[in-house]
Amino acid sequence: MSARVFTIAALGALALIALGLVAPDWLLFTVTKAIGFGLVALGIVALMRGGLVSFGQGLYYCAGAYVSGLISNRLEVTDVAILLFAGALAGGLAAAAISPLISRYRGIFFAMLTMALSMVLYGVLAKVTAIGGSDGFNVASPSFFGWTPGVAKADYALFAAAVVAAALAAALCRLYFDSGPGLIALASRENELRVEYLGASVFTVTQRNVIVAGALAGLGGALNGFALGHIDPYFSYWTTSGEVVFIAILGGYASVIAVFGAALITELVRSFSGQYFPESWQLSLGLFLLVVIVFLPRGFGSLWAGRRGGGAREEPK
């Protein structure tokens, strides 16, 4: 089973890396950034499977970016593997630290509390002038196991690294989602009361998902930090988190690959509408969101379980 998943992931990664050779630079970059966002969204998907949505993943995204960025700038550690790992670690640790506080919240309160926390980080970072305040700072592109690619190859190298990271993350998530604990997470989304009465702790489940999501967000943050060459508190701003939530919804929690697809689509739509309707890109983006949500229910299959009207008539009252 796990062997199968990993082979699929590996093959997929290789295929993409090969395709990358013929892709135009701007696309390479866009895909890299999409993968960064996709990883964060994947974390949200993990949370969604436990019945929660976070509007504050920006916090871990930002933590990952800043930590890896500072390590590269201040400690002159430039190896991509180390830096990405540092990012994931930072995100995971931040989440672990916060999880006891937030894991008992549900629904919109969880969403808003996480958002508030991320906005606090935003406010703080915006003030720390030592690391650029609200303007942030720039980071050099990393090295790859000793090899420092020239400007020409930098984009491709990072793209390849991103693909590998994504494949790994996707495989691990797939396994986790299908595992027993993954199933219990799904169950606690559906009926916490029952899960508790069967003897499992919804709190623990949530905490676990929060940490997973945090680590993924940290990884994504580190990746995008280097892809963009610039890091600023905006990483922790609510709009960033919001965009990723949309990606997660669009991807839906059935498939982990769909999430990355969703990320890419969103990136493309945003930049093309920005390019061709500079005066009204918000309108087109809004329309896009609507169309997707209205006509692509598959993406978010079971979010559509009706609570009111039609659908289920006997939800526990």
Binding site: D25, S134, D135, G274
Partner: protein
């Protein structure tokens, strides 16, 4: 027939659209039109850029630095523009500059103020055709002194992000030099886009000061003015707007009297009399029947400088469309006349412009309309640090090598 593709990046939505982005692009549009028609006065009278038709590609600067890096790459790698001219936001400039360098893409930052760009790094392909923010507050303090405002206490209200903090820091430093005994009574940092300033205004009036400094801009500034007006803040203290000229046209005669106003350059009311300025003023007001404020001026000086650079590069390479290297070579250290006075690319080893700056005080003219009077212009070298010095250090060192006459 061959075109020269210019990517223009400026705010078309959100807070900064009304005050900076849109007027800047309005100015750019009309100027490009005239240049393509070859109707600009000498030395800008060649059609287009040395015969190449100028083809602008505009995108919105909204969405934060990360978005802008992406859009920048798309402009360069997907749209293959020849030049990018853009960026009002300091954060955007800081983020885009290294990318431009990495992509070896000739790029002009036309507006943003942070000194960090060329103070923290050297660039080959990145130029800024407007002076950085140091001059705004140095000039402002010099103006206060020159117009004999005596100051024992002063306070500041600035937005809570880099621009606000830097402006306030510069102002305080400059005050420390020119008004060494003046003390600060209040430092307020409302959030960007707060919109509600009742509390801040009370605080400013509570902690009454001779001068109130603010670098607020756009909707925030106008809201602050509107809310402060009836509460008499402008009577209690001498308010000084380090970059507020763009609020004059919209507020019109509701703009308070006696306020010191800067424009981050010698623009609009403060612009030096010149044929070029008269022409510019005319085409702009004809097109949009409102006077041009700082943003269009800076867009204009960027495009004019670019035009000359392109044409110089074409002379050098025998009339081909120049590439980024040739453009950089042509632009480096150059200088040209602009509606706002002479632009000299002398700092940041030839990549950072310095320019004269003007200030004035709001007052009623003979037919009762609010205008700026008591205009004083300071020469570029009076308010800008020498090539080898960081802005804030220059101020703290007491403006060495400043040439004010």
């Amino acid at each position: 027939q061959e075109t020269f593709k210019v990517g223009i990046v400026t705010f078309l939505s959100g807070q900064a659209a009304q005050s900076f982005g849109v007027p800047a692009w309005d100015g750019g549009k009309i100027l490009v039109e005239k240049m393509n028609a070859g109707e600009a006065p000498a030395p800008y009278d060649k059609k287009g850029f040395g015969g190449l038709v100028i083809e602008p590609v505009v995108i919105d600067e909204a969405g934060g630095a990360t978005t802008q890096v992406q859009e920048y790459r798309n402009l360069v790698q997907r749209e293959n523009v020849d030049v990018v001219v853009g960026y009002v936001g300091s954060g955007d400039c800081l983020a885009v500059a290294p990318v431009a360098e990495e992509l070896k893409q000739f790029t002009i930052l036309y507006d943003c103020g942070t000194p960090r760009i060329f103070e923290d790094a050297d660039y080959e392909y990145v130029f800024r055709t407007a002076a950085h923010a140091t001059q705004d507050n140095v000039g402002l303090v010099r103006y206060l002194k020159a117009t004999g405002v005596d100051i024992e206490t002063y306070s500041g209200i600035n937005q809570d992000y880099a621009w606000g903090h830097d402006s306030w820091a510069d102002f305080k430093a400059a005050m420390g030099q020119i008004y060494p005994d003046a003390t600060v009574t209040a430092e307020l940092f409302p959030a960007f886009g707060a919109g509600q300033y009742g509390t801040e205004i009370s605080a400013l009036m509570q902690r009454r000061a001779d001068v109130v400094h603010t670098s607020l801009w756009g909707g925030d500034l106008q809201a602050m003015i509107l809310q402060a007006l009836p509460r008499g803040l402008f009577q209690r203290s001498q308010v000084a707007l380090s970059a507020g000229d763009h609020s004059l046209p919209p507020l019109g005669d509701n703009f308070p009297e006696g306020v010191i106003v800067g424009a981050r350059g010698a623009y609009g009311f403060m612009a030096p009399k010149s044929e070029l300025n008269d022409w510019w003023w005319k085409i702009y007001t004809d097109a949009y029947d409102v006077m041009p404020v700082q943003a269009p001026y800076r867009m204009a000086q960027a495009l004019l400088g670019l035009k000359l650079a392109v044409e110089r590069a074409m002379e050098a390479n025998g009339g081909k469309k120049p590439n980024s290297e040739e453009l950089a070579a042509a632009m480096k250290g150059s200088s040209w006349e602009s509606p706002g006075g002479r632009i000299e690319m002398v700092n940041g080893n030839g990549h950072q412009a310095i320019q004269p700056i003007g200030f004035g005080r709001s007052m009623k003219n003979d037919d009762g309309h609010i205008v700026l009077g008591d205009i004083i212009r300071f020469p570029a070298r009076c308010v800008n640090p020498p090539a080898d010095m960081k802005g804030i250090e220059w101020i703290e060192a007491g403006f060495p090598e400043a040439e004010c006459e």
